[in-house]
Symmetry: D2
Subunit: 346 residues, 4 copies
């Protein structure tokens, strides 16, 4: 660490929404110091000129990524918020003592064939792959603590896995699982596109990628680590006309009949040490988690039919917030440090 005893941070890919949120958190993190933030197209510009929310709050400037990555010393941890595929190239070039937290999908899938099927990319760093720990903090806390490399979960995967992990762990799940997931427009990134064009998006709701979303394999893979998961998973993604937020409605069946209270207790127990998971009454609402690292969950039963609702901010618990939560654990500091962002009403 630096002489100030702070974790020295590099951020690769600071101009997108993932990078924006990493900066919002890390620039004000009491134990971290951002030493480098890259954005090739903005190199030289002040961070506050690109992310205008940060104007007046930092003098940091964007830089080009160093050409010789081995020259990158004096860094304790590198965050990657690059488009899928780019971390595959860069991570292997870093000095081996630098910890890595990758927000892309590059290192989430253990099976290279499955990776290729969903990402349409050859996995070129299969050796490194085995060293990556899947960073769903609440279910993988101990592994994260000792990890050198973290594959930070996808936003949809985070909302879905936090909703399903307790019931999978319990062994009471039976039959297929259906997840109807909805995301805000920031999930499509900071680059304008037709599906995020305001005149249309503001009145839209639609489904996309039926049966084929790339988060399916990481959900299935991790559920098998959490418990004995043998269910079919039907996973469907939809687009919401809000900027931030993911809401997952998870439909499943239990092999015994549980009351609402039974199930709620099961979840509360599973998450008893998880500050960022809040069990709520009725339904979570993306309004109450926006800009925060919380995942709000509610459960309901009707006979053996169960629905679990979960809500997160796709850019925080679904990306940058969870990444920093993992960093905190990797460096032995309090899990919630720098992450107690308070939501707003309204």
């Amino acid at each position: 660490m630096s002489e100030t005893n702070k974790i020295r941070v590099a951020i690769f890919g600071g101009s997108g929404y993932g990078g924006s949120e990493l900066l919002r958190i890390l620039l004000f993190h009491p134990n971290a110091e951002v030493r480098l933030v890259t954005a090739n197209e903005h190199a030289g510009k002040a961070v506050g000129e690109v992310h205008k929310n940060l104007f007046g709050m930092t003098d940091l400037r964007f830089e080009k990524a160093p050409e010789e990555l081995l020259t990158l010393t004096n860094i304790d941890v590198a965050f990657f918020a690059l488009p899928h595929g780019q971390a595959l190239d860069v991570v292997p070039q870093l000095l081996p003592n630098i910890k890595v937290i990758d927000l892309s999908g590059d290192f989430r899938i253990d099976d290279a064939d499955v990776f290729k099927q969903f990402y349409k990319l050859e996995h070129t760093a299969t050796d490194l792959q085995t060293k990556f720990v899947y960073g769903l903090t609440e279910t993988n806390r101990e592994a994260v603590k000792s990890a050198q490399y973290i594959a930070n979960p996808g936003c949809f995967a985070t909302a879905t896995l936090l909703a399903l992990a307790p019931i999978v762990k319990s062994g009471m799940l039976t039959g297929k699982v259906i997840v109807d997931a909805k995301t805000g427009s920031s999930g499509s990134g900071a680059k304008p596109a037709s599906n995020t064009h305001h005149p249309q998006r503001m009145n839209s709701f639609y489904a996309y990628k039926p049966f084929t979303h790339q988060h399916v394999p990481e959900i299935e893979q991790h559920l098998k680590e959490v418990g004995s998961f043998q269910s079919d998973l039907v996973f469907m993604t939809h687009s919401l006309p809000v900027a931030r937020g993911i809401f997952a409605s998870c439909y499943l069946e239990t092999n015994v009949q549980l009351s609402n209270e039974d199930l709620r207790n099961l979840y509360a127990h599973f998450y008893k040490d998880a500050f960022f998971v809040r069990m709520v009454e009725g339904s979570p609402d993306i309004n109450w988690v926006k800009t925060t690292n919380f995942c709000d969950i509610a459960v309901h039963t009707s006979g053996k039919q169960v629905v679990v609702f979960s809500a997160i901010d796709n850019l925080v618990k679904g990306a940058a917030g969870q990444a920093v939560q993992n960093m905190n654990l990797m460096f032995g500091i309090g899990e919630t440090t720098g992450l107690r962002m308070v939501g707003t009403n309204p």
Copy 2:
């Protein structure tokens, strides 16, 4: 009919969104003439003062509902857009030659006990109930044509039933059905309430009434009329931050494996005479049906797993539009008359 050969219309409950949409359609319907529109709290006011979209387009004024309903003559059809429970009292007092189209839930449920369970009301007109035809036009066209009384379907029920009817009819449905339905804020009515308070709603998405929505019994009842429906139905409602639109994602299983194309053909055939049902590629979007009487549907298969997406405008195909579609059939005029409202881009 009137000397101008137009259908003479009365609208009970003209101040809410259902009434607003009935007026938007019927005031410009070539074969209809609105003779009476009631709104007790606005009696005497010009319609265009309350529904400012109609300012300058009509001289009609709201009236109090007549105390002696038998004095209401010279009316061919009465639409009811009143809160649940009120049509139960009023309809039995009308002259028997007046046709009735009720947009509330009062006459949708044949079983009085089920009605009471979901609406928390005693059904006080069980005799009349047997004369009501369920007005899902596309599945009940012949019955509607000869009906005297129409129970107009609920908005969620319309989106769900149009999505499920072809597969139920086909006999290929097996196992349980899960419907994840989402509605815009106008579904909560024209009266301000905390769940439609703009500062909160604009950033919200949440679920409500898990397992207990009052549209469940009419869906199950009508699916049993459409085909042999024995599946469990899990029906879940959510709130969207848009003004208009319902989107239903329906998850089901077939007893044989169908390709996307097979299933699409099955649906296209089922709806071959249905002008207002459009089979679309990928996904429907509430943006493309808003303010129109269309129901857009897309289907996808993966093995025996099926998802059917449907989108309607909750106030049009889900209420006033379908009501007028039924009126057209009841009076022997073209089904789409007055209803070819064109949506907008954006």
Copy 3:
């Protein structure tokens, strides 16, 4: 006209929002027939595939613009909804008997130097320019009726001019005029861009082009035609987080003191024959004019200080609707034909 006695229409530039709205109106216009709609990048595609609101309502397909424009016969009127500068090239090549309605800024400015200053383009058709009539229907009705070529007003210009024309005509205006104008995101066109990126736009309000908007010269030019206009005009444009609508707040001073009622009467008299201008109480609201051809206006005085509020749909009265209104007059049919689009509540 065609043997069916309909106006034969060509639309150049049918893929943008202007073209989309022209199609929405003209395809259902009782006296018009769309013979050609061009969109080079969509040539061959069905109109309803690009503008999904029209899916199922037309079999029309986009075509490439003809290379030899003189071969374009059997057309009575050509609408241009192309980016600024393109009509300048195309209009001179058309057969001289074809009437033209140009929705761009190409033919709005009589002074070629002013045109160049605001549009950064050389005006290459100054001869034709003198034949163009400025198509603000309500103030130029007689000239429009006999026009061969129409320069359809800009959206901001329409809202501003309708708000100011009566007071300018009255001769009571004194001192400078300040117009604070706001537009919805569709004003930026159908092509995604950073200022219409949904995650940002949905929570934004900002000003742009201070003191330099290209609608300033057409406003000043036309006010001098309406009356004796010698005021300084401060014109400021802002961006609203809605899809549709322009709202102009116009601040001015009168040389005599007028009551609210006096001023309202003056406006009501000025617009007594204008179906599409509605004088409203309190304030107009873009919500009540959206998707319609109405311009709603309210006036208020305080001593000699006056504020005039006007609201239009930028794509209808501010573009395609007014264009068709002009077409109706040019062909001697009722001014409101095909344009009585009804707004909705909500």
Copy 4:
């Protein structure tokens, strides 16, 4: 102060949006401790049950306001976030050593007749009135530091005054000033009402209270304290379809011609010690100040015509944030303590 050396805080009126924001800030303020928060209708409920953004972050509960206010000891400062008129009754009953920061309009207007005219209330505490300091921190910093009682400025007044103070102070202002101000829906409070009903508000923009808004007198009064202000002020309020934010467009004239740069320098100099005022290029955007205590300002000139744009979050710099900023100064701690809330992109 408390043994922990923290400022002991009471909040009267904790259930509205002003109270919500005071809690969001003060519960995490390093030098403050919330000892009491009142909300009669929610007495006994957990704060996190009413303001769900705070769920899991505090154990505080709402209480009824004490009937005998003299029994309220061990409090250093009382914030009032009550409806207009209520602080007038309560403040005089407090122990005189308790500092007061009132977010309502009760103590902003020195002239009791003007107060009555705009608030339709008799001012019943005119003695106390003279002890109140107007809490626009940036222009009144020294007076705030030594104040016992603070009248916290209105949201519109804050945006307007920060935009106008530098030019008024400079003595270069001449002629009338026109302020076209726009607010988000949270400005209407937490209680549902027809003007904040989501289905309508989401597509609305309209003006209200032309020439008569109650913030006019506090703006005029304070500008006369800032400099020699003799201009007529035309102040107009409008409603935006966003939850948070005020944007003011201020049109004025200078008695000498200034370049953009001159004027910007004048503003930058005026605000050189003001952390929360940021001079920006082009235009501020409410998107970049939402949830923060910043006021972003841009200036533009054209000859002697000037426009000043300012943007704030109406609930933060326009209410609770500025209130805490004032508290910090009154208690001699750093002005930005607890207030460096970072906005988000998007």
